[in-house]
């Protein structure tokens, strides 16, 4: 009995409807959180005494970067689940997570560059964290490209699962080595904001924005999952009933 929820996860129509129900509440909530967080952070939070108003991009940059990193683990865990339990839904989840993760990583890099221009005086530096993000972007693109290269999508998912699991083991090693590389080649001096503490008046909108982007990630994942389910199950009866509106 306790396992019925687990078996339901193997049923595409159940997942499709469940995702739909979640989205009905989560999507408006996400939009509300994004709007409140953005207006609060961009208009009402006090300006930074050193960076003035240019620091406000933190409310986009930090949430996006945090979720971009977490997204790789979501993808790898979905891959592991698909390898272990042969679950079609996990395959799709991994397939959907790759482009979303790549998009978020790219957004993190672009907003970082936009922030870097007024703060550091340059669009790009080979700083440890930026370099790690670039490599993360390539890892995401690699998984996506490998999936697209296979014609048989079941095998594509298996191959991508292996690749993302190898990547998961490798990511801490990459981060450590990039950190070490950066300390070896440390250029002149680029100091991030002086103080490490952040005032609550700036922190609360930031936390709200991080939660909002996490919620947005879940929404995008579920939307992609629903589209993927309709696509991969297009010959089955439940999809026909769904599309024709017969219940």
């Amino acid at each position: 009995m306790a396992w019925t929820w687990f078996h339901r996860l193997g049923s595409p129509p159940w997942i499709y409807h469940f995702a739909g129900r979640v989205l009905r509440y989560l999507l408006p909530l996400t939009l509300l959180m994004l709007c409140v967080g953005a207006v609060w952070g961009l208009a009402f939070a006090p300006p930074d005494f050193r960076q003035g108003n240019s620091y406000r991009i933190i409310y986009i940059h930090v949430p996006v970067s945090v979720v971009a990193l977490a997204g790789y683990y979501v993808m790898a865990i979905a891959g592991a689940v698909s390898l272990i339990w042969r679950m079609k839904v996990a395959d799709l989840m991994m397939r959907v997570a790759a482009p979303i993760g790549a998009g978020l990583t790219l957004l993190a890099l672009v907003t970082g560059a936009v922030w870097g221009k007024p703060t550091w005086g340059t669009w790009w530096v080979w700083d440890a964290r930026i370099t790690s993000m670039v490599i993360l972007l390539f890892l995401y693109i690699g998984v996506y490209a490998l999936y697209e290269a296979y014609d048989n999508k079941t095998l594509a998912a298996k191959a991508c699962a292996i690749l993302s699991l190898v990547g998961t083991v490798n990511i801490p090693i990459i981060y450590k080595s990039v950190d070490w590389w950066y300390s070896l080649h440390q250029p002149a001096s680029i100091k991030f904001t002086g103080g490490t503490t952040i005032d609550p008046s700036m922190l609360y909108p930031l936390l709200l924005m991080i939660s909002a982007v996490y919620a947005l990630y879940v929404c995008l994942l579920l939307l992609g999952l629903r589209a993927g389910l309709i696509d991969s199950e297009s010959t089955t009866n439940w999809v026909k009933r769904e599309v024709l509106g017969e219940h």
Partner: protein, 224 residues
Amino acid sequence: MSTSLFTKVVHRQLLLAFRRPAALLNPLTFYAVVIALMPLGLGPERQVLADFAPGLLWIAALLASLLSAETLLRSDYDDGSLEQIVTSGGSVYLAALGYVISHWLITGLPLMLLVPLFSQLLSMPTEGVLALVASIGVGTLLLSALGTLGAALTVALRRGGMLISLLLLPLEVPVLILGAGLVERAISGLAIQGLLSILIGLAVLAVTLVPIAIAASIRISLEV
């Protein structure tokens, strides 16, 4: 039975390589050409070349291993040998290990022996030569493990050529950083034991664990 699958694969790969010496020479020739391009791109000034030498020698090693990884499993996939290995009932893990070790023997080991020569073409200070030989020797073992994995994932794809570099190069970043860093440290007269130990540790990790992923990938590729 299962141990012999390892020796059989290594024996077969080495035999194939020595019967067709071009396979043995191509990666080295490629390496030499890439190194020869560096002064043409950067200018012949000895100091400039010497400054960049550790990084350049390592990047060329990455590219050379990538080039040979692309065709590593191709013919065995096409003529059905891979299928025979999987259906033989022996350990695919040991066969995968055999491919990794034989790839290193065919590409990594010769490069390790010849790299002091190439380093002098870029007038690298001689203090770093020993560290370079050690780091290339250990590092190419890592590259062979990852390269075989890339080959196993893409061997069934007709358009796998560009893909394999996209898959492998990001994973190989730590090897490049540690390898080139080790040589730079040696040139500036610092101790390298610590870094070398890390590199050896990673190589042991890769050689023992990556064949699991290779074996799984070979099975996937055979289903295509």
